[in-house]
Amino acid sequence: MQNEAKLLSLLKLDNSKELAFKTLVKRYKEKLYWHIRKIVISHDDADDVLQNTFIKIFRNIDKFKGDSKLYTWMYRIATNESISFLNSKAKRNQVSNKTLNENAIQNLVADVYFEGDEIQLKLQKAIAQLPRIQQLVFNMRYFDDIKYKDMSSILETSEGALKASYHIAVKKIKTYLQAD
């Protein structure tokens, strides 16, 4: 936390901004990449969104007032960038978001950057059936073990609602996996 505050102060000074930003990228690139990847599914898309996310962070760091943790603020930008990216892609391909999501999962079978087994593929299919908010909550809790408090700050939703979403998501996924 103290490191984060120090990094933040360096990010706001003109003479240390670039170096501090490089440290920030080094520290958070992996976490943000995997968070984005689980939303957009394909590696190439995740790479694009990760680049955009960091550029947006760089451009807006001066406006970050410290109302939340730096990392939850960055996760929020990454989440919104990912969703925005998917919406634009759906629009460009003239398909619904649901179809786009289903196509992405279908493409996983032939994706060289997916080495999941049958159950992992089935899990991704199950996640794709969920509404967007449940997908986000499930991925953040199940795979990344993010605390509800932090998730609440990232998704700007109450902790109670997030817990309920996770509960429903787990139940639906279990039912989906047991159905086949």
């Binding site: 599914i41 680049q51 960091f54 947006k56 929020r76 919406n87 279990k174």
Partner: protein, 155 residues
């Protein structure tokens, strides 16, 4: 005093069906995690090690923008006056059609002066905009294509 009695008299409460939900989520999660823990996604070799961001050089540009902002109001008004003078001096039958096209191009190429526009527009002008036939669907599409959700959510 038994533990149950202590709980019955306790002033603390839990959300409705908390314990039932806790059990269900906990056991479902455990069951799921025994069969699958990872996503199965991978990255190209050493992608994350080599990942780098070329930091956008904005210092010179931002100085230029500050300068432009200072004079943008006057520049915009002069440009608009010259533009109107030019348009009205053209004796053409297609004036109306051409002016829309030129205006549109002007706004696309030079229209990044939203603050100047806002300054110039009066409340009456803004009310007049309501006669434009733009459907909610078109507005929604425009926002979806152009507005940044991150900006809308954060600011």
């Amino acid at each position: 005093m038994s533990i149950n009695k202590i709980h019955k008299n306790s002033p603390f409460k839990v959300p409705k069906e908390y314990f039932e939900r806790f059990d269900a989520t906990f056991f479902n999660e455990i069951e799921l995690k025994t069969s699958v823990k990872e996503t199965g996604f991978k990255t190209p070799d050493s992608y994350l090690n080599d990942f780098n961001i070329s930091i956008p050089k904005i210092s010179k540009f931002s100085n230029l923008r500050k300068l432009n902002k200072k004079y943008s109001f006057y520049i915009f008004r002069t440009a608009a006056a010259l533009f109107l003078l030019f348009m009205f001096s053209l004796p053409s039958e297609d004036t109306q059609e051409i002016s829309y096209e030129i205006l549109e191009n002007y706004l696309i190429n030079e229209g990044n002066q939203s603050e100047a526009f806002i300054d110039v527009l009066t409340l009456e002008d803004l009310n007049d905009l309501s006669i434009l036939e733009v459907s909610y669907y078109e507005i929604e599409n425009y926002i979806l294509q152009n507005a940044s959700i991150e900006t809308l959510l954060i600011y």
